[in-house]
Symmetry: C2
Subunit: 355 residues, 2 copies
């Protein structure tokens, strides 16, 4: 089993190092190879996703990804910015299905902005389509406006697009996932305004005929943004497009109050996957040894479960994380009175001990 | 001063009736004329925005709008659905600047999903561009995918577009508004992915040179969705495009816990405006006399201030609403122990008495 390790920028290298520590402690036949990505790769090789890094990711069974990005690259031309690496990996590897759990850990309920009764026990799975929509749709660019009230003025434009097979496959992923959970899917669209999401709604409704045991409802994206705040526990699985999924999965993650704990998985049709924490590269705390490695460690667990078919190893890691929380160990981002605040490496060591 | 009264569907007629009651009590020379809109207009005249209704709105100094929409129209062809009326009014009247305050009333802080310390005293103004973006961008439609991995398959598409002058004018509105407040503007974009929002960011930055007394920062939309949950009080004015503004303004409204209290204004370059509550048509409680009319009454106050240049009358209404809240009167949506629950008409009467 071959894993490409792409630490990236900011806190990426620190948190990935802890996840690698935990993977090694499992004593499984895992072959791990590291390559630069993002700003680090731009510095080292002049491109955020060098060919060698992409090739390594393509040959691996799974990619363990840290985070990319730093303010200092904001002035680079767009194709050289760190974020292009993650967009490029998603597209080149065909990672169309993004799993973003929003879980509220019992011991961390207090950390949420929301009143505890609204988030205690929260367990939502957001399934975001990741290779289509306005993220990749052509044409896009700048031009003189060809028509409309400002014809002739400089304008920029992008194209939102979804085809029927793209919607079908992500809908199936959502219904299958719901079968492993509470059998309820909320499809989020903006069919009242967008042609793209009228097709989305139509196709999800059609695919639903094959899953009569799963409940389906449709919700407009603006309403979904509200209902997540009002009553998040009413959701089970949310399925939506790339753009809306970007916004709603971050909103939902923040509702839990412990985004430093949330892993993610991005899968392609062959089960290959990229695994990364839901949070970003946090350049402000990089190198200080205070970042929370648990989201990355839990991403490694998802990797073992989904791409490497080692469910027991995944369970072991998740149980170890639970144990460490029960012991009262916390990194600074999730600290609370009465707990022991530890650094990045200490947290990784604690998980290894708890395995 | 001529006002077009468009009650619309669901609770629209009930809540607008109370706002009209309050306007009449002001004894100002207001000429009010009512016309059907939305589903009600479709039933009466076969179209959600009949020519006569549009003409009335165009001739008026301001439009007081209730709400449109009902599940029963979901199966109509898109051009006949109630939402088309509001989109048509925005476009035909050129209502490019949407003001969506997210205010937390002292007496209603408890109603928020968020912990009281996070929302007490919250006062954000979201300025959403309302006539551009993917809402109106052409081309759009269905076709066989012209290229890409699913070339030939059925696809749907929409076009996101913003021109420089469109961004400039909404940016100016935001900076001017910030000068009346805490002089801080957060421009929300997705410049790391979208060409449209790279231009948005560039132009907002340029316009900012004329407002050196206002602080400007830029935030990605996914991060904004998170920061609204984490620390909403850090925002003063948020300016963003039509699509992101739709999502974020609803999220922010729900954070206050009292969306039934939130008015909105949509203005064009001549100061003509459409005023409507932030909440929707709530068909489930329509006709029961329990809907909260305060958002509509406060929208009438915004109308007096912005389009009719009657700031004292606006102040009187807002003070009257405060007084009614202080008296402990509440509609069901904002009820809490120890308060007196009243119906829609009783609430309107109470505001009139408090004037
Ligand atoms: C960095 C950015 C391009 C990316 C996205 O928008 O998809 C990020 O926000 C994410 O959600 O992984
Ligand atoms: C009804 C719908 C078309 C509309 C929009 O998306 O703009 C509504 O959500 C709003 O925010 O006024």
């Amino acid at each position: 089993m071959k894993i490409a390790i792409l630490p990236g920028d900011g806190i990426g290298p620190e948190i990935v190092a802890e996840a690698v520590k935990v993977l090694r402690a499992l004593a499984l036949p895992l072959e791990m190879e590291t390559a630069p990505v993002g700003g680090a790769a731009y510095e080292a090789a002049g491109h955020p996703l060098p060919d060698a890094t992409l090739a390594l990711a393509q040959q691996a069974d799974a990619v363990l990804f840290g985070a990319v990005g730093d303010w200092k690259y904001d002035t680079l031309p767009r194709p050289l910015r760190p974020e292009q690496a993650i967009l490029g990996l998603r597209k080149q590897l065909g990672l169309f299905a993004n799993f973003r759990p929003a879980l509220c850990y019992e011991q961390l309920t207090h950390a949420s902005s929301l009143k505890p009764e609204l988030v205690a026990g929260l367990d939502i799975l957001i399934i975001r389509e990741l290779t289509g929509d306005i993220y990749f749709g052509q044409p896009r660019g700048r031009r003189a406006a060809p028509d409309g009230p400002f014809a002739g003025a400089e304008e920029a434009f992008d194209t939102m697009r979804y085809s029927r097979p793209e919607i079908e496959r992500i809908a199936r992923v959502a219904f299958e996932a719901a079968r492993q959970r509470n059998r309820k899917v909320t499809s989020v669209d903006k069919a009242n305004v967008l042609e793209t999401f009228q097709l989305w709604k139509d196709v999800v409704t059609e695919v639903h005929r094959d899953y009569p045991d799963v409940e389906l409802d449709h919700m407009y994206v603006d309403n979904a943004a509200m209902q997540l705040v009002k009553a998040p526990k009413k959701f089970d699985v949310i399925v939506t497009g790339n753009m809306f999924g970007d916004i709603l999965s971050d909103e939902a993650a923040m509702l839990t109050g412990s985004i430093g704990m949330l892993p993610s998985a991005s899968l392609n049709e062959r089960g290959q996957g990229l695994y990364e924490p839901s949070h970003g590269s946090a350049p402000d705390i990089a190198g200080k040894g205070v970042a929370n490695p648990l989201a990355t460690i839990l991403s490694a667990a998802m990797m073992l479960r989904y791409s490497l078919k080692q469910p027991e190893a995944a369970d072991r890691i998740e149980a170890a994380v639970q144990r460490v929380l029960a012991q009262g160990l916390r990194t600074a981002d999730i600290a609370s009175p009465g707990c022991t605040v530890v650094g990045t490496a200490q947290m990784g060591d604690a998980v290894v001990r708890a395995l």
